[in-house]
């Protein structure tokens, strides 16, 4: 691998000015070493240091962004083969395909689905965030019309696809401000499209008909032209070959720091299966195995939701516990007579507990205390869910103004804190709730304020 944080640090200005976004040069060096930052963020590195660092500090898979604003999709930046080695960094973008062959209604339908199938989970909005617009006939006018239509109807990040370089150029110019991905430069079109990408600042996909060698040659050629943001397509359209290609590319990038293949990939389950189920299965594989962009023919709740969850799970940093925000969560329109429960902020705990409360249909107030992502028993054992911490949190939370009673339900596993909590909270009555979340509904149904 590249240089260690300390080696990089020695080359930095050591002024700790903080302009790179982290407070010290050392912290920046560590971020560089782990591939999660880019050298350009520091305005003060000397040219000489830059040269030395460029090679080793650039992430082995180049990070790049397609789209703008809320729908900007950042991919690449990966540093490992397997999630358990460290973490995967940037989720692959999920795109739905529209083509110039589709009628208006069909296009509207796809765009509507993109808009509709969004899910709020874990405090995040899960959704597919891209539209791939394909020119099916090589006709610039109809392509530009479709690009404009999609652009006006949706904020999604765009992938523009055409075999005709002129049509592609026209389409890209129509939406260059949205930073679309240009798909794709081949041996024949590398010069024209390379120039187009350079002029518009848009990332460019490359596709070779000549295996890895062809791809490497193309990539070298375009990097030579000064392009930085490339996306790879080996052209494989069978599960086995595409899987193999993705593995080879990631290995070359991560294990050998082979720059010509150090780019995110694009893959097309939509061209690899004839029904949505198979297509979804393929997409699931590519989420786990290294794809940068995944283009689907269609989105349905049953196909998209599992993919979104899979993506979330795989790209969640396993080194940090997931947390819910500290605060009071009203569940089911609670009023001043509703029960008050308290739990920790490990997100699994939060979801299970809030889910059970919801399931009970008893409107309740759920107070979530920041335990730094530890679950109830662990937090209790670590001294982060004690009479004192819960007491301080409850007193400050403002829950007392929301209810007219003074009963608070603590998790059964934290029964040991009830005495201490009573002292902390004075006039509150501490009720020990069930140990298992599954028993919450039964408990709440019989609960009465005292």
């Amino acid at each position: 691998m590249g240089l260690t944080g300390i080696q990089i640090f020695k080359l930095l200005p050591k002024t700790n000015c903080g302009e790179c976004g982290v407070p010290t040069c050392l912290a920046f060096a560590m971020a560089l070493a782990s591939g999660s930052a880019e050298l350009d963020a520091c305005p003060y590195v000397s040219d000489e240091a830059k040269e030395q660092l460029a090679e080793s500090s650039a992430p082995p898979v180049r990070p790049l962004t397609v789209g703008t604003g809320d729908y900007a999709v950042k991919v690449g930046g990966e540093t490992v083969m397997f999630r358990h080695e460290k973490t995967f960094v940037n989720e692959p973008g999920l795109a739905v395909l529209v083509t110039t062959e589709m009628d208006d209604a069909a296009v509207n339908d796809k765009l509507a689905k993109l808009d509709k199938f969004q899910y709020d989970r874990v405090g995040l909005n899960l959704r597919a965030e891209m539209v791939a617009i394909k020119d099916a006939s090589g006709d610039a006018d109809s392509f530009v019309a479709l690009v404009n239509k999609v652009k006006d109807a949706s904020q999604a990040a765009l992938i523009l696809m055409s075999d005709n370089a002129d049509a592609l150029a026209a389409g890209v110019k129509a939406c260059a401000d949205r930073k679309p991905l240009i798909y794709a430069a081949t041996e024949d079109t590398a010069d024209t499209l390379g120039a187009l990408a350079k002029e518009t600042g848009c990332p460019l996909a490359i596709k070779s008909s000549d295996g890895y060698d062809g791809l490497v040659a193309l990539s070298d050629k375009l990097t030579g032209m000064g392009l930085k943001d490339l996306v790879l397509d080996t052209g494989a359209r069978t599960a086995k070959q595409a899987f193999e290609d993705h593995t080879v590319i990631r290995r070359a990038a991560v294990k050998k720091v082979f720059r010509p293949l150090g780019f995110p990939t694009i893959t097309f389950p939509c061209e690899m299966a004839d029904n949505l189920m198979d297509e979804t299965m393929l997409a699931a594989m590519f989420i786990a195995k290294y794809a940068g962009f995944i283009v689907m023919s269609d989105l349905e709740a049953y196909s998209l939701f599992p993919l979104l969850l899979e993506r979330l799970n795989i790209y969640t940093d396993p080194q940090r516990p997931m947390t819910a925000e500290q605060g009071i969560y009203p569940i089911g329109n609670p009023n001043e007579n509703s029960p008050v429960l308290v739990t920790c902020n490990f997100s699994l705990t939060y979801f299970i507990v809030s889910g059970e409360i919801e399931g009970s249909r008893v409107p309740s107030w759920l107070c979530v205390q920041d335990t730094e992502g530890l679950s109830v028993l662990t937090a209790w054992a670590a001294g982060k869910f004690t009479g004192e911490t819960v007491g301080t949190f409850i007193s400050k939370s403002g829950i007392a103004d929301k209810v007219s009673h003074k009963n608070i339900i603590i998790p059964g596993y934290a029964a040991a804190i009830s005495g201490e909590l009573e002292e902390e909270l004075g006039d509150w009555k501490i009720l020990v709730g069930p140990r298992e979340a599954a028993h919450i509904p039964k408990y709440l149904k019989t609960w009465k304020p005292e």
Binding site: I6, P23, T24, L26, A27, F28, M30, E85
Partner: protein
């Protein structure tokens, strides 16, 4: 003791006896037997490990260590921060970021995870100058370790070392704490360069 028991319960488990073998470097704490084991266990990723250094081939942790130490280059010393301290530290990273940096099998020169009591043991980063290198730690950690710390400081001939070490009341950047260290004549400033 715990490790022995664990090994007896599960002979192929996470606790394995290791023969130290030939001593390769007694200052940094480098043993051939250990290196061989680490090389094999890490599947050729790590070939050398120093017991007593934070700068050269330091230890990795699982990320659940009580404290993380980091070098502070401009102070020519190291800082250490305990898990309970949530604020910014002079190295520019909070505990959680630090733990993410060093944990999970990553060998990260300049950083090492350790336990609280380890700080007051004789071998704590002995290869880099030991306890005398410590220039910053959170006040709460200072207080918690006071007794042990002072005993060890006495052994080192700097009984008031703890008072010469900066904490968050002095500052949380290297710039802020350096004048304090200079004023208190912190021994680390006189030592060989840390890197």
């Amino acid at each position: 003791m715990d490790c022995k028991a664990s090994h007896e319960i599960n002979p192929t488990g996470p606790n394995q006896p290791i023969e130290k073998g030939e001593t390769l470097d007694d200052k940094l704490g480098n043993w051939k037997g250990v290196n061989d084991f680490v090389y094999k266990a890490s599947r050729q990723a790590v070939s050398s490990y120093n017991f007593y250094s934070i700068v050269y081939d330091p230890m990795t942790t699982c990320g659940c260590c009580e404290c993380v130490a980091a070098i502070l280059p401009s102070c020519n010393g190291i800082m250490t921060v305990n898990r309970e301290y949530n604020e910014m530290t002079p190295c520019g990273m909070k505990f959680t970021t630090l733990a993410g940096t060093i944990g999970g099998g990553a060998v990260t020169p300049g950083f090492v995870g350790h336990s609280k009591y380890n700080i007051c043991q004789r071998k704590f980063v002995a290869g880099d100058g030991g306890l005398l290198r410590v220039v910053w730690m959170p006040k709460m950690l200072k207080e918690e370790l006071k007794e042990r710390f002072e005993k060890r400081a006495e052994e080192l001939g700097v009984p008031d070392l703890l008072d010469r070490i900066a904490d968050e009341t002095v500052g949380t950047t290297e710039e802020e704490i350096l004048p304090f260290l200079t004023e208190k004549k912190h021994p680390a400033l006189e030592m060989d360069p840390i890197m």
